[in-house]
């Protein structure tokens, strides 16, 4: 058994990342061609949206009391079997097959091209597979974008809660600032709206200005972040947690009190912005910008925390007084960390608002902040790849578990508690994915030049 597991691990490990991505792209191709028919054939009634998990769970009878729930379990189990078959046949086999076949050529390819180009090829392939996979069932695309938004939320919160070791629980407040500022701007500039009247600028501007407006939303959120940054000079630990929570409440409450932008009823019209953008050039703008937004967030946070300046953040976590006494300007560093973190929360908010098409203050409560916390702790404090993984897992799980209604939330909070009890370090335990699988192995970096006289083991 152990032997078999090792063989499997070895087999999987030999395939570089790009080959997997291409394999998955091929699998989505298979799904487009054969998914519908195969799904019907094995009794799934078509293409399952989320690997069959949602559909399986929706067999559960949530309204019939405990008896009804128990009685409905067999029907769920009956559904799981064909769903698994579907997943293996449509996704698993093609991915592995194509991955294995392409492993060699891909290795050759990545070891000859310059690294930046290899990186670009990875990104484009990833984007394409998301787009194609998501395009088949419209709802999937939405979830893919939510994943992106949540990655930005989790990794930016990780900067505070993981790297800096503070406890911020008001991230949704900054998200709200970004969401409202950018939505108000886009709706004002590019659509016919009840509040603002006719569009101010021509449609063509929308595609140019959209990313800039996201940045403006981020800047507004970054400024709001100062509301937490300044108190953090004097207070820390659970008191700072209270500050963040009250800032969250204040922002939400302030929005509720501005009647002009809808007050507690919320604000909409962002779907119109999107229509304006696609009327100029018809590409999936939001998917593109979410994708780019995620990349930029990860690069910025990674580069920041690995610079000596950014390591001041980690020094604060380890021993703030020693940091200050050993020349780290802790105030400056805190302001930087909080501004960067809330800036990206604002960008995430802007994307979120346009993905959803509608926002309202009660979207951005402490519940949302706590969800971001769950993602950070699930992935592991101080691990960016952990945040990416956990945001993906969390978002998909939340969508897949939708049939459980309120109980889904119960599961989330239960998981948070269990995490704190049994695995405080999260999935990644403070390490990055690249600490386990090297970039060379993934095919993202060219292997170091072989030393003369040293013969690498035959592959």
């Amino acid at each position: 058994m152990a032997q078999l597991l090792r063989r499997i691990k070895e087999f999987l490990g030999r395939i570089p990342l790009l080959a997997y991505l291409l394999g998955f792209l091929a699998a989505t191709g298979v799904e487009i061609v054969a998914g519908q028919a195969f799904g019907l054939l094995i009794g799934l009634g078509g293409v399952p949206a989320f690997f069959g998990v949602t559909a399986a769970l929706s067999r559960l009878n949530m309204d019939g009391g405990l008896g009804g729930l128990l009685l409905s379990i067999p029907s769920m189990l009956l559904y799981i079997v064909p769903a698994l078959v579907y997943d293996v046949v449509i996704y698993g086999l093609p991915t592995l097959l194509v991955g294995r076949v392409l492993a060699k050529p891909v290795r050759w390819f990545t070891s000859t091209l310059p690294e930046w180009l290899t990186g670009l090829v990875h990104m484009v392939t990833l984007f394409l597979s998301m787009w194609v996979w998501g395009g088949l069932v419209g709802y999937r695309l939405l979830v893919v974008m939510y994943i992106g938004v949540n990655i930005i939320m989790a990794s930016s919160l990780n900067l505070i809660n993981g790297y800096m070791g503070e406890f911020s629980c008001g991230h949704a407040g900054f998200m709200a600032v970004g969401a409202y500022v950018s939505s108000l701007l886009t709706v004002w500039l590019f659509t016919q709206d009840d509040v603002f009247g006719a569009p101010v600028l021509g449609a063509g501007w929308s595609i140019i200005l959209f990313p800039l407006i996201l940045i403006v939303g981020g800047i507004a959120a970054g400024i709001a972040g100062l509301l937490v940054a300044f108190p953090s000079f004097k207070t820390r630990g659970d008191y700072l947690a209270i500050v963040t929570i009250s800032v969250n409440f204040i922002i939400k409450s302030a929005i509720e009190n501005i009647e002009k932008i809808g007050g507690p009823r919320g604000f909409m019209g962002m779907k119109g912005v999107l229509r304006t953008m696609t009327s100029v050039i018809n590409v999936p703008w939001l998917l593109i910008w979410t994708f780019i937004g995620v990349l930029i967030t990860l690069v910025v946070i990674h580069n920041f925390v690995s610079s000596t300046k950014g390591k001041g953040v980690v020094a604060i976590r380890e021993d703030e007084i020693a940091a200050e006494l050993m020349s780290v300007n802790t105030r400056h560093t805190k302001v930087l960390a909080f501004t960067i973190s809330s800036f990206f929360a604002g960008v995430a908010g802007g994307l979120f608002a346009h993905v959803l098409g509608y926002i309202n203050p009660s979207t951005f409560t402490i519940f949302k902040s706590t969800e971001a916390l769950v993602m950070v702790y699930l992935g592991g404090m101080g691990s960016l790849t952990g945040s990416v993984l956990s945001a993906g897992i969390f978002t998909v799980a939340m969508e897949a578990l939708r049939p459980l209604e309120v109980w889904k939330k119960v599961l989330v909070w239960l998981m948070l508690i269990l995490l704190m009890m049994y695995r405080r370090e999260g999935i990644m335990g403070g390490k990055e994915l690249t600490d386990f699988i090297s970039l060379e192995r993934l095919g993202l970096r060219r292997p170091a030049k072989e030393v003369k006289g040293y013969a690498p083991a035959a592959d």
């Binding site: 000596t308 020693a322 940091a323 050993m326 780290v328």
Partner: protein, 255 residues
């Protein structure tokens, strides 16, 4: 002008008078000691000099510039490095990172440089890393550069702390009980090390120590405090024969 000049330094913790009317003129290149029984206020003086606390009264000047009211990192940047009585390294970071971060004040690049990896950023980071490794090399710690600090034995952690203090480019180095927890053999090595870094880095050094052999062995001048007040001052020989000191301090160790 003296390198460090302390006038009438006094500090209260609530009602507790931890330091009272402390005065000192420290000339460049000196190596002096500060001794006194437990709770005498020695560490508090270091904390006042490095800006961790703001003095209730009095003045502290480095090269004539007042340090009172400056934040600790500013004081460190002006050239005062220190170690702590109980080791305060950044435990979950590597040795190299501990040394790198202590050069925070020397960074000239901005955040944007660090995010975009501009030439300026790369040059400075290269320089910081080079200097860190050189420092570690000098202390024969280079092979431990990537080790997590918490995994090092106590003695090496003490050394790393001294290296970290040196990384801040100090002119004046404050050592708070550097020999605490060391055996006689280790202490001898430490004494040589201290004298060596003093020459090598052209430092003025001020040591708090309980162990007499450290103080008597290397200090040129010693100040003794008890209950926050200076009770004696002089060369090791003078101090050793001072009755007040014997009563307050040496008496405690049982003559």
């Amino acid at each position: 002008m003296p390198l460090l000049q302390i006038n009438h330094l006094t500090h209260f913790f609530g009602g507790l008078r931890a330091v009272y009317d402390f005065n000192l003129n420290l000339e460049k290149g000196e190596l002096i000691g500060l001794i006194g029984p437990n709770g005498a206020g020695k560490t508090t003086i270091f904390n006042l000099v490095t800006g961790a606390y703001r003095p209730s009264q009095g003045d502290i000047r480095l090269n004539g510039d007042s340090l009172v009211g400056l934040r600790p990192h500013q004081i460190t940047a002006k050239g005062i490095g220190r170690t702590f009585q109980t080791i305060r390294l950044w435990n979950n970071l590597s040795v190299l990172d501990n040394i790198r971060i202590a050069q925070f004040a020397q960074i000239r690049y901005g955040v944007v440089d660090s995010i975009l990896h501009t030439r300026r950023y790369r040059d400075e980071e290269k320089e910081i890393k080079k200097r860190s490794l050189e420092l570690l090399e000098v202390f024969e710690l280079r092979h431990l550069a990537d080790e997590i600090v918490a995994n090092l034995p106590y003695g090496q952690q003490r050394e790393v702390e001294i290296v970290r203090a040196l990384a801040t480019k100090p002119r004046l180095l404050l050592l708070d009980e550097p020999a605490a927890g060391m055996n006689p053999g280790e202490i001898d090595t430490l004494l040589k090390l201290i004298q060596w870094i003093r020459k090598e880095f052209d430092l003025t050094i001020w040591i708090i120590e309980h162990q007499m052999r450290v103080i008597m062995g290397i200090c040129e001048r010693i100040k003794v405090i008890d209950f926050g007040e200076t009770i004696a001052e002089g060369t090791p020989a003078e101090i050793q024969s001072n009755p007040r000191v014997l009563k307050a301090y040496l008496g405690e160790e049982g003559i």
